[in-house]
């Protein structure tokens, strides 16, 4: 880095050099699995699932939430929590610069989006990882936003649903990142103690410290098809055991067979299936009230009518 670059602010420094990355994405793209040519706006409407081969491409946290929840307005949680650089971490690049560049390319403060919204008419809290933000890595901000979402769910008695897509803990925040594993796990224990459902959806990829904390702690663990889900990545294991790993090792289907997850659900079916599960775990109060006619008050019927989908 020249002396001139050194004195520039991070924002300006990351502006140049990466011009290629700033070109807006084209309207046409290729499926990463079958190479079918896809019209991007249509692909996004389909939740980035390839219509030809069914490959589930990665979704940003925000697109994920939009695809999953009802059209009802959502309320974002802890939107202004931003990353710091406590260690003044620097490898080939400064962590600070990486943050600024990633914030610019993703439009997000950090790798987790947290909201309160509605799923088939039921209030839920949803958190979703953004793999494009430094590999969805979990640092202080991800941990903090996740526990704030859990705390909101606890306060309001709502279910929590997380969509994991992460390489693990964020190295650049070192032990701060590691501690987010126990921080998020502790908050989830409170959800369990309060009898509130936590549904963990594992998407491609969910590995390392995220897999070994919040992602594997769902009351129900659901994976999307063919997602890589593991503690240690295939390359690390190959180096350790010095043998080639079998086809499909650490993919969703393998985890289902080994008993680590409850089910594999395609992206299109996730909203319906999770709504069903929530209804089984915690039927909405008005559904219970309606079975006992003498207990029905006129205004409660109206409440039930307001949420017709919730009792489906």
């Amino acid at each position: 880095m020249s002396w001139f670059q050194k004195i520039m602010s991070s924002r300006i420094r990351t502006e140049g050099g990466n011009k290629k990355k700033n070109i807006p994405e084209g309207l046409w793209g290729k499926c990463k699995s079958c190479e079918a040519v896809l019209y991007q706006p249509e692909s996004l409407k389909q939740g980035k699932v390839c219509p030809k081969c069914g490959h589930h491409d990665s979704l940003s946290g925000r697109d994920r939430i939009e695809f999953f929840l009802d059209d009802a307005p959502i309320e974002e949680i802890a939107a202004n929590v931003k990353p710091e650089d406590p260690l003044k971490f620097k490898d080939s690049k400064k962590y600070k610069d990486r943050i600024v560049a990633t914030q610019k390319s993703t439009g997000e403060n950090d790798a987790l989006v947290a909201v309160k919204g509605q799923l088939k008419g039921r209030d839920v809290v949803v958190t979703a990882f953004d793999f494009k933000y430094m590999g969805g890595s979990m640092g202080s901000v991800v941990g903090e936003k996740f526990v704030r979402a859990a705390h909101l769910a606890l306060e309001q008695g709502l279910p929590l649903i997380n969509f994991a897509a992460s390489g693990g803990a964020r190295m650049q925040e070192s032990l701060f990142s590691l501690m987010q594993m126990s921080k998020t796990a502790a908050a989830l224990k409170r959800m369990k103690m309060a009898g509130l459902p936590y549904i963990s959806v594992l998407t491609n990829p969910t590995t390392g410290g995220v897999s070994a904390s919040l992602a594997m702690l769902g009351d129900i663990n659901i994976a999307e098809p063919n997602a890589l889900i593991c503690f240690a990545g295939p390359r690390v294991i190959e180096q350790t055991v010095r043998e080639t790993l079998p086809e499909g090792f650490q993919r969703s289907e393998f985890l289902l067979e080994k008993g680590a997850i409850d089910m594999i659900v395609t992206r299109h079916d996730l909203s319906d299936r999770i709504a069903q599960i929530l209804d089984l775990l915690k039927p909405l109060p008005q559904a219970a009230v309606l079975t006992d006619e003498s207990a029905v008050e006129p205004d409660e019927i109206i409440v039930a009518d307001d949420h017709p989908k919730g009792t489906e």
């Binding site: 802890a78 202004n80 929590v81 931003k82 990353p83 710091e84 406590p86 260690l87 971490f89 620097k90 490898d91 080939s92 202080s140 901000v141 941990g143 903090e144 526990v147 803990a169 964020r170 190295m171 925040e173 070192s174 032990l175 701060f176 990142s177 590691l178 501690m179 987010q180 594993m181 126990s182 921080k183 796990a185 502790a186 908050a187 989830l188 224990k189 409170r190 369990k192 103690m193 390392g208 410290g209 897999s211 070994a212 904390s213 919040l214 992602a215 594997m216 702690l217 889900i229 593991c230 503690f231 240690a232 690390v236 294991i237 350790t240 055991v241 090792f249 080994k258 008993g259 680590a260």
Partner: protein, 318 residues
């Protein structure tokens, strides 16, 4: 070169060898060479002081992995009485990379759990180099739940390069085993004191490291990833491990300054293996003091304080 010593300890190893040689000579011949021995001992001391007053983070990493460093069973031997080792996770196997059992600390019953490394090829393999598989973490969890049942404090000793990255470990749910421990430890109803005695290797360390107090021996390390692993990912070369060790802030002093650990346990000049009894005494008194304080808390306060401690971890702006 003596393989029991690290690179930067070699000058000390040479001096010690000379002193030993002279002592043997004086035993044999009764020639008075005490003066020369004393001179060498003084030199050894000043040389050790010089080296240890200016250790790099990479050197501390090496000390944390020193082949002569005391391991969990050594501390159990020195600090506790009546140790009864308990085995197995009741589901799959007994993992020798984690040891645990009942013991007495100053006459009081406690549950002791720690990673265990081996000293020679045979025991290193038996202990899997201190890298637990899921059944190790599940054994630890079983013992911790037993401790809760009998209202016994839990003392853990952390010393692992990390959880084992193997095929079987993945098949049996390494992630779930670690995650479950984090969840359960956060709300156990008994005091938990965790001490990093050597290597605090990432999730594999934290899986027995959630507690009311975290202690760290002076020359131990605690990190989200090994310096070698970090270097090979971020610098694309494992040879940059020294730079990574520095950047990751993994030493007791730095972590204490960040508020990520609570207390540093003093080690003697030349690190723990030079005077293991001293370290054991220091550690024991720190544990006894903390235990006394934690025992005075109401159960609900104990759990709430532990929860608030977990929630306080993180550096962000708003």
């Amino acid at each position: 070169m003596n393989t029991d010593y690290l690179d930067f300890e070699q000058p000390l190893a040479e001096l010690e060898a000379k002193i030993n040689e002279l002592q043997n000579v004086s035993d044999d011949n009764s020639i008075n060479i005490d003066e020369e021995i004393q001179r060498l001992k003084d030199k050894l001391k000043s040389k050790t002081e010089a080296i240890f007053s200016n250790l790099s983070d990479w050197q501390i990493t090496q000390l944390a992995r020193h082949p002569k460093r005391p391991y969990t069973l050594d501390y159990i031997d020195m600090m506790f009485t009546d140790f009864q080792e308990l085995h197995g996770d009741r589901a799959f196997a007994d993992d020798a990379a984690i040891v645990g059992g009942l013991a007495k600390l100053d006459g009081q019953s406690v549950m002791v759990i720690g990673h265990q490394k081996g000293r020679n090829t045979k025991t290193k393999i038996k202990r899997n180099f201190g890298m637990p598989r899921p059944e190790g973490y599940r054994k630890a969890l079983r013992l911790m739940r037993m401790a809760e049942q009998f209202d016994l404090p839990i003392l853990t000793f952390i010393d692992t390069p990390g959880a084992y990255p193997g095929i079987g470990a993945e098949e049996r749910g390494q992630s779930e085993a670690i995650a479950k421990n984090l969840e359960v430890m956060s709300h156990l109803k008994v005091p938990i004191i965790c001490t990093v005695i050597g290597e605090g290797g990432s999730g594999g360390a934290l899986a027995i490291g959630v507690g009311d107090v975290t202690l760290m021996l002076e020359y131990s390390t605690y990190s989200v990833i090994s310096p070698e692993g970090c270097a090979s990912i971020l610098w694309r070369s494992a040879e940059k491990a020294q730079d990574a060790a520095e950047a990751l802030s993994i030493t007791s002093g730095k972590l204490k300054a960040f508020g990520l650990i609570d207390e540093i346990i003093d080690e003697p000049l030349g690190s723990a293996y030079r005077d293991t009894e001293y370290v054991a005494q220091q550690l024991k008194s720190a544990i006894v003091n903390n235990l006394k304080r934690l025992r005075e808390l109401e159960q609900s306060d104990l759990i709430q304080k532990r929860y608030e401690k977990q929630m306080s971890y993180g550096a962000f702006s708003e």
